[in-house]
């Protein structure tokens, strides 16, 4: 027998049928019927945030750490527009979230009603797809489609805008959740072209100076083990983008570290001198390639991506393959394995050994893997790299690490060695300050027993610190590592390097709060560290059994003069890098 449900009940029931565990949201007039439907059920836990932007980042953190879609519920007007930054963040990093926004009743749409915003219009450039519910009967189908679209192909955010009249608790419909989706205009590729796969395998085996350049697609596409198997079989050097960290074990010899603007010397040099780039789930972002015209002059490009629009967008691909990373990598591996079994000389081992000798040379010249414990900051102060390394040791490399945007993000990416996917969670594409804390909360909800560290800076932290209250309400034992340099460090670094040290609005002029008192006022535990010799003991405490159930805020006062290096010289090739501190060099130009 079919059930008779109201629109609001159908919406919540459909979420249950999708297997949704958490909804991150904030109530308001347009969604009151929906909230009443939430009240009357137990299967989905609603998490009350303090700001809608944070709700989207929580859903995003949940999605990135699990691969399952995150769900957001906000009201119309300001509730919806507050969510837009989080939607754009998810869009740029291709993460699956479904955002349900309230809307004024259909009959009032277009009348400038109270709390009315054209959410479908406002969000259009930053969603994979969006829906405006015209009648309640459409709700089950729309929810089914929204989740399918969000999670399949290249994932992305989907908005469902729900006018209040379609959730009326007094009008009932036959509820049936569709078994499947039928969309004639949407069929993401499920396997690669076999001819292209053979070509790719042949090109890989013929390479003398190869690099595997793997991005977020390996994480989102759950292809880390397939990538690792193929890369290990070939013995090729592997570099990850900021989004791809954890896609290949970061603590191995074969890993070159992150590439790009703040990538390692060895990764960027290898990319410049390579004769074959195998790009997997990466999009040749401007923060990677530097000047595309000077990019990897000798390289044949093999580019695998699930999204055809990412291929040959910036850098022309010689061998394009459209398909899901995991399937295609496994197929390439089978071809490579067969060829190597048939012919022991299929791979030019001598050339590869020479190539590795060059790479190790670059690594010796300027590596990041050295221990920073013996370095001293200006006036003997603590260095941000030391803090990240200490967190790495205290968590044995097994934490989920979220970050915000700026210097601390780069230090975390450089010095925390991720050896598994879905552990490193940051806003790479949009570069959203304020992402770290709410993302960590989403991760903690998804992994109640996991160790979750949010490596942030005081600037980013203050953009969403209201969520300390939410953490209190839900007793989330997140560890917040605040790399406090009392400045917007990355902006300040650029000003040091390119604007003659004129720190235009990148410092707060002694107007920072007492973070210890602030976080303690929310019932959390707080530490303040400014000495290297107390660092490891403090981190052992923070991540130890003592504070297993506490949110701990570590206010780490670090050297405000420290810069992130290497740093790409804009307009150059990938081998153009600044490796050590230079101030006031006007020839290092850029347009942030």
């Amino acid at each position: 027998m079919t059930e008779r449900l109201s629109g609001g009940e159908m919406l919540i029931r459909a979420l249950q049928d999708e297997g949704v565990e958490y909804v991150f949201g904030y109530p308001g007039g347009a969604v009151l019927h929906i909230y009443d439907a939430i009240f009357k059920q137990q299967r989905i836990e609603h998490v009350l945030v303090r700001h809608e932007q944070a709700a989207t980042h929580m859903a995003d953190g949940y999605a990135r750490s699990t691969g399952k879609p995150g769900v957001v519920l906000v009201t119309s007007g300001p509730g919806a527009t507050n969510a837009v930054t989080g939607i754009a963040t998810a869009y740029m990093d291709s993460t699956p979230i479904v955002v349900i926004s309230g809307q004024v009743a259909n009959e009032f749409i277009g009348s400038d009603a109270f709390q009315e915003t054209d959410m479908v219009g406002v969000s259009r450039p930053v969603v994979k797809h969006s829906y405006l519910v015209r009648s309640a009967a459409e709700i089950p189908r729309i929810v089914k489609e929204a989740f399918y679209i969000a999670c399949s192909g290249r994932p992305g955010p989907v908005v469902i805008d729900v006018p209040k009249d379609t959730t009326d608790p007094n009008v009932f419909f036959d509820y049936e959740y569709p078994e499947s989706v039928s969309l004639r205009s949407y069929s993401p590729s499920t396997r690669g072209h076999s001819g292209q796969i053979k070509k790719a395998a042949k090109a890989l085996l013929a390479a003398k100076r190869p690099v595997i350049y793997a991005g977020g697609g390996v994480i989102q596409g759950d292809a880390a083990s397939e990538l690792t198997r193929l890369a290990t079989r070939l013995g090729f050097p592997v570099t990850n983008t900021l989004m791809g960290l954890g896609g290949f074990p970061g603590d191995t010899e074969q890993f070159l570290g992150m590439l790009g603007m703040h990538g390692t010397f060895e990764a960027n040099m290898a990319m410049h001198h390579t004769d074959l780039i195998f790009a997997v789930g990466a999009r040749f972002d401007d923060r990677v390639t530097n000047d595309p015209a000077k990019f990897a002059p000798d390289a044949t490009i093999v580019h695998l991506d699930v999204d055809p629009a990412s291929i040959s967008k910036i850098i022309n691909a010689d061998i394009p393959i459209v398909g899901p990373a995991a399937t295609v990598l496994a197929e390439i591996d089978r071809v490579v394995e067969a060829k190597m079994a048939a012919d022991p000389d299929a791979l030019d081992q001598r050339a590869l050994a020479d190539w590795w000798r060059r790479i190790r040379g670059w690594r010796r010249e300027h590596g990041l893997d050295h221990d920073q414990r013996h370095r001293k900051g200006s006036n003997g102060s603590l260095l941000p790299q030391q803090v990240v390394q200490s967190v790495y040791r205290a968590t044995k490399g097994q934490a989920f690490v979220t970050s915000d945007v700026g210097q601390h993000q780069m230090f975390a990416a450089q010095y925390y060695k991720f050896d598994a996917p879905r552990r490193w969670i940051n806003s790479g594409g949009l570069g959203t300050m304020g992402f770290g804390l709410p993302a960590a909360m989403g991760v903690q909800f998804a992994h109640p027993d996991g160790v979750v560290a949010c490596i942030t800076g005081e600037g980013s932290f203050m953009m969403n610190m209201q969520e300390l209250s939410t953490c209190m309400q839900y007793a989330l034992p997140i560890k917040i590592i605040n790399l406090n340099n009392q400045a917007l460090g990355m902006v300040k670094q650029w000003q040091d390097m390119q604007y003659g040290g004129r720190h235009s609005h990148s410092t707060y002029r002694d107007a920072l709060p007492d973070f210890k008192a602030l976080t303690e006022s929310f019932g959390h535990v707080s530490y303040r560290i400014d000495q290297l010799d107390e660092l490891d003991d403090a981190m052992a405490d923070v991540f130890g059994a003592k504070h297993k159930d506490d949110l701990v805020f570590v206010d780490a006062h670090i050297d405000p003069e420290e810069h992130v290096y290497p740093m790409a010289i804009k307009g150059g090739a990938m081998n153009a890098m600044v490796l050590e501190r230079v101030d006031g060099r006007d020839d290092i130009r850029d347009d942030l």
Binding site: R124, S185, P308, A309
Partner: protein, 163 residues
């Protein structure tokens, strides 16, 4: 290079705004745009003329295909095709100009579809170049109002764009 794209689109509210938004968002150019439902009323057909080199057109096509409501995209300029545009043009027609304009209209195989004491409204179909040539032939002084449909295009012979 000028290109003519034919796009089959779900005939749904908001679908066209996604296509147009994409062009604005990615800094692509729309020269002309023409849209109407097809014989299958669940589909709309858009003919859109734009400019760009091969890479750009490839990107435009790929991004259009990424839109969920876009069912099919074809670059008509890749093969043999026909293009037509409809123009309605109101011209000042007094004294001996009346006969002159009528003659010109006949030469271009246009039709006068409305007449007043001092004006003709002429309907003319053809390639965009032909319509341009007609306007030039009339001379600027005569033209009161011009409305053009934008280009519609279809593949020649047995090339068919359908589901």
């Amino acid at each position: 290079m000028r290109r003519l794209l034919a796009i089959l689109l779900e005939n749904e509210a908001g679908a066209l705004s996604r296509v147009i938004g994409l062009f604005a968002q990615r800094n692509y150019n729309i020269e002309t745009l023409n849209v109407a439902p097809t014989e299958d009323e669940t589909l709309s057909r858009v003919t859109l003329s734009t400019t760009g080199d091969e890479n750009r057109i490839e990107q435009i096509t790929k991004h259009l295909n990424r839109l969920i409501e876009v069912v099919k995209v074809v670059d008509l300029t890749e093969g043999d095709h026909l293009e037509r545009e409809l123009m309605l043009i109101k011209v000042r027609a007094v004294g001996e100009m009346r006969e002159e304009i009528k003659r010109c209209c006949d030469i271009f195989r246009g039709q006068v579809i409305d007449v007043t004491n001092d004006a003709y409204t002429i309907q003319l179909t053809g390639t965009s170049e032909k319509l341009d040539a007609f306007i030039r032939a009339l001379g600027e002084a005569a033209v009161l109002e011009v409305v053009r449909s934008g280009v519609s295009g279809i593949g020649r012979a047995d090339k068919i764009l359908s589901l």
